[in-house]
């Protein structure tokens, strides 16, 4: 039966080409757009987690309240003990110290006069630690435009556009001026070890990265840190798990009235990421629903056109004594086969385009020259196993449902009038 139908589909191109094309295009669009959206939205979540929020973050309560001001005067103290506690209670996570700080970076010329100056967003990370995984997490090695990563105290990485603005290059000295944790003036000299492209305009234009130990020294933050970030060891964000962690950790300090007691926040609770995560979850579902609805209507229409075109054929088959149910079933089988062929073609094309987009992406840096918002300057798709069925199943169902709806007309044909119709 299947062989018979398959042959019929291959021999009668009019019966198969249009529906296969429609299904393939629909499935392709679903996969390509879904991959693109999850790539774009996921990129922003990953980027935010890696640079700003972690999967969870521990801060002092007072710091968390004023986090936008980078208030290092409200930093966490006694962090060694806190690290022990975090590592003991949550061994599946890597806990790393970060200090965000603001200040002025000044580049001197050969006469010790300022040749360039700018406001800096400083980021102190555990660069020299072998276990923190920070250089890999922030993809610093691959982001280097020039030079190398800092290897010793007193070296700094700087956003490549910031370096250009300051007129500074690798090997040049920079002077940092800011405030210590206690409000004193902080001055320090650094040597540029490398320039980096973060792929985020706001960072490329004003970020400097130094080692955590340097920041502790310059900002008077001995055994203190602004933030402790937790990243799942597999680097995959697990929403339910981090919510449970947060509840367990915060419950321990619930009776502590100290405004500098630690508090844990999940990625979803920071930077308005909660609504963003919900959005990401619902976008894919929305796509599938819209696709099934639209494609069902389109394929119903295609099925109706096919049904009209094959009106005479069905009439003859009925006149020859074939049962209505049998005709209907063969039509559905046909729809299943056409749906599978179209969905396979569409899925294959969609996956190819997604993989290409994942590898090469679309460079939008030209459109973001003055952007200060933190978003990637290359838009990429993201392949996930979900893409293998996200278009395939709806493609198949839409084709079958469309044909089932249009095929109902077969049952309305009256055998008594068939010969009269066929004469016409």
């Amino acid at each position: 039966m299947i062989r018979f139908i398959f042959k019929a589909i291959l021999r009668d191109k009019n019966r198969s080409v249009l529906p296969v094309t429609v299904v393939a295009i629909g499935v392709f669009l679903t996969i390509a757009l879904s991959g693109y959206l999850s790539g774009m939205l996921g990129d922003m979540i990953d980027q935010t987690a890696r640079f700003q929020t972690g999967h969870v973050k521990v801060m002092s309560r007072a710091y968390a309240e004023n986090i936008d001001q980078m208030p290092n005067d409200l930093a966490l103290m006694d962090i060694e003990a806190l690290h022990e506690e975090l590592n003991r209670d949550f061994p599946n996570y890597t806990w790393v110290n970060r200090i965000n700080f603001g200040g002025i970076i000044d580049a001197p010329n050969e006469n010790e006069q300022s040749k360039g100056q700018g406001a800096a967003m400083g980021m102190a990370i555990e660069l020299f630690s072998k276990t923190s995984g920070e250089t890999e997490r922030l993809n610093l090695e691959n982001s280097l435009v020039d030079g190398r990563l800092p290897q010793k105290s007193g070296e700094v990485l700087i956003g490549y556009e910031f370096a250009e603005k300051l007129g500074a290059k690798v090997g040049d000295e920079l002077t940092f001026m800011g405030s210590t944790m206690y409000g004193s003036m902080a001055f320090a000299s650094f040597e540029i070890s490398g320039t980096v492209r973060f792929g985020v305009m706001a960072m490329d234009k004003g970020t400097v990265i130094i080692d955590f130990s340097d920041a502790q020294r310059i900002l008077d933050m001995e055994d203190a840190t602004g933030e402790i970030m937790g990243f799942r060891k597999e680097e995959v964000f697990m929403q339910d798990e981090v919510i449970e962690m947060r509840e367990n950790f915060n419950a321990k300090y619930a009776n502590d009235s100290d405004e500098f007691a630690p508090i844990m926040k999940t990625l979803g609770e920071q930077n308005s990421m909660g609504s963003y995560l919900d959005l990401v979850d619902s976008v894919s579902a929305m796509f599938v629903i819209i696709f099934v609805l639209v494609m069902s209507i389109v394929l119903w229409n295609t099925g109706l056109i096919g049904g009209l075109r094959r009106y005479q054929e069905f009439g003859i088959r009925l006149a020859l004594g074939e049962e209505k149910g049998h005709i209907y079933r063969t039509m559905i089988f046909e729809a299943v086969i056409i749906g599978i062929i179209g969905s396979v073609i569409g899925t294959a094309l969609g996956i190819i385009v997604t993989l290409l987009m994942q590898k090469y992406g679309i460079d939008i840096s030209g459109m973001m020259k003055d952007a200060t918002m933190m978003m990637p300057s290359t838009l990429r798709s993201k392949f996930s196993p979900q893409l293998l069925y996200i278009g395939f199943i709806p493609g198949l169902f839409a084709m079958v449902i469309g044909n089932m709806l249009s095929g109902i007309g077969i049952y309305k044909r009256e055998t008594a009038t068939l010969f009269k119709e066929l004469e016409v």
Binding site: Q113, Q117, M177
Partner: protein
Amino acid sequence: MKYIIAIFFTIIFALQLSAQDATEILEKVDDNMNSETSITKSDMIIYGRRNSRTVTSVGYAEGKNKSFSEYLAPAREKGTKMLKLEDNLWIYSPSTDRTIQLSGHMLKQSVMGSDLSYEDMMENRKLTEMYDSEVIGEELIDGRNTWVLQLTAKVVDASYESRKIWVDTERYVPLREELFAKSGQLLKKTELKEVKKIDGRWYPTKMNYKDMLKDGKGTDFVVLEIEFDTEIPAYIFSKAALKK
């Protein structure tokens, strides 16, 4: 009709009188608070949420365009120097042995975590040069009668669009000041206390500056010693003095 004209001219006259009075008051405030030169040793007490710090400095000023400060304590700040010439500000740090010039929006940054910005510290033009004034009332502050003056900027580069100052009616010393942004938002508040007669002029020796956009008690500025119209060697106001 005669009554209306009479009332109209009375109002105009009263307004002119008020404006004239306000300008006179402000001129006397300027005369009292400004001098040819001054040498001030002071403590700046910065109140944080965790602790408080006291920064001691000595400042030299000549006219409205030249000033030089050297920080004496605590150890972390010792040797830091600032020089202001016209609209330029240089800061010298002994730890890096570098002099950095600050300009533009950098001047809006806080000085040593205090409630004062570099811009605030640099602003020493006379009030009459920068603001139009108007007396809007009288109030009692700590038992002293004050005029309440509303000042509105008449120059485009004033740090604050408007100010409200409470001036002691006898001593011509401001006892309170509120600084507003263009939007009308209150940005800073200053309380001036412990007014003493020094070298024939009344001068507040304790001031509290409060940045209204920050939490906390603000920053106290306590004058330990002050000399007016003392000769200051010219080299003090040079960049070479920063590294000395």
